[in-house]
């Protein structure tokens, strides 16, 4: 539903508002790099605006800090209704490496609901463009959770006296699950 809504509402252009709630400016520079002629995103209609009241998308950088959490919440509330929040960088996604210090509340999703995550410290400008393309629905996301499983529990137990050989094929009978 969210995807359809995105394609319908944001198909033409995204106006982004750039909110830094206590980051180190690394992600800010990458976001500004996206807007420079090298990665010219204005050709896709993405435009940086100075006020949250004009914006469709809020780009959050930096963790939610004690001192800026209220301001971030107010900026989010000031945005008009169909709105998206992007968490850019590992600080906004998970709290950064100073996640357990005094002044850091945690990821920005503790303060505002986050729709899309772009991890990286800082993410490459291409990664930011890719995340926006995932949000708009131009491309599919490439990542999926990876699980390597050793065995399934409970472990099947085999009794050696129940092994029977039949034409080079060993058949386990009376398999009992522990």
């Amino acid at each position: 539903m969210l995807k359809n809504l995105c394609q319908k509402m944001f198909g033409r252009s995204l106006w982004v508002y750039h909110a830094n709630s206590g980051g180190c400016n690394g992600c800010d520079i990458e976001v500004l790099n996206v807007l420079t002629p090298y990665y010219d995103v204005e050709r896709f209609g993405i435009k940086l605006v100075g006020s949250p009241r004009h914006a469709d998308v809020m780009l959050c950088q930096g963790p939610a800090m004690r001192s800026t959490a209220q301001a971030l919440k107010r900026a989010y509330d000031a945005m008009p209704a169909p709105k998206l929040v992007f968490a850019i960088g590992s600080c906004a996604c998970g709290g950064g490496i100073w996640f357990d210090s005094y002044s850091v509340l945690g990821p920005v999703e503790k303060v505002v609901p986050v729709n899309f995550y772009i991890p990286g410290c800082p993410p490459r400008p291409e990664a930011i463009i890719y995340g926006v393309a995932v949000a708009v629905g131009l491309v599919d996301k490439k990542t999926a959770p990876v699980k390597f499983k050793q065995i399934e529990l409970p472990i099947p137990r085999y009794h050696p006296q129940d092994l029977t050989g039949r034409d080079e094929l060993v058949v386990y009978e009376k398999v009992e699950k522990v």
């Binding site: 590992s90 490496i97 995550y117 463009i129 995932v134 050793q150």
Partner: protein, 174 residues
């Protein structure tokens, strides 16, 4: 005067040519030393926990399901791609890949979970030892994190009091 300067500007712009990179159509190769997402190789990993102890963001969790099965879980939310896990890995099971297109709508998509079959030392019952004497004092037995809630368990919890020292500061071990 202004016409001349405009002409000069036009010449400069024409000389520079087109600088916009054709990213969505054709992606540029990343630099050779670029560190992207770490990839875990379950076949090479021995479960020593060096990556978990050296991760500055505490994003690699260790959990012992039973005596034989150890879970190494990489969460990747606040991973800064520093590459220390790949540096300390004695078996070179972690490689820093060149993947950077990890934008997603669910943060759990960048998780990697490896289940390992651990053998037991016949003499001491444990396989690995902490490097320094202080570390050995701190750690009783295995390091066990809270994998179900994806939380890194603060190591000194095993001997410190559970009551917080200051009431108004609520420290979240996230």
């Amino acid at each position: 005067m202004s016409v001349l300067s405009k002409l000069q500007e036009a010449v400069v712009c024409l000389k520079a040519g087109r600088v916009t990179l054709p990213y969505p159509v054709k992606s540029q190769p990343v630099p050779e030393k670029f560190r992207g997402r770490p990839l875990f190789d379950a076949a090479k990993c021995t479960g020593c926990g060096g990556c978990a102890n050296n991760c500055p963001a505490r994003e690699i969790l260790l959990f012992d399901l039973c005596q034989e099965i150890r879970i190494v879980q990489y969460l990747g939310r606040r991973c800064t791609y520093c590459g220390r896990c790949a540096d300390v890995c004695p078996e070179k099971a972690i490689t820093m890949s060149h993947e950077f297109e990890t934008g997603t709508n669910a943060i759990g998509d960048i998780q990697q979970r490896v289940e390992l079959f651990m053998s037991t030392c016949q003499r001491c019952g444990r396989c690995f030892k902490e490097p320094s004497a202080l570390e050995q004092l701190k750690l009783k037995g295995y390091r066990v994190d809270d994998v179900a809630h994806e939380r890194w368990v603060f190591r000194s919890k095993s001997y410190l009091e559970t009551e917080p020292a200051v009431d108004d500061i609520k420290i979240e071990m996230d």
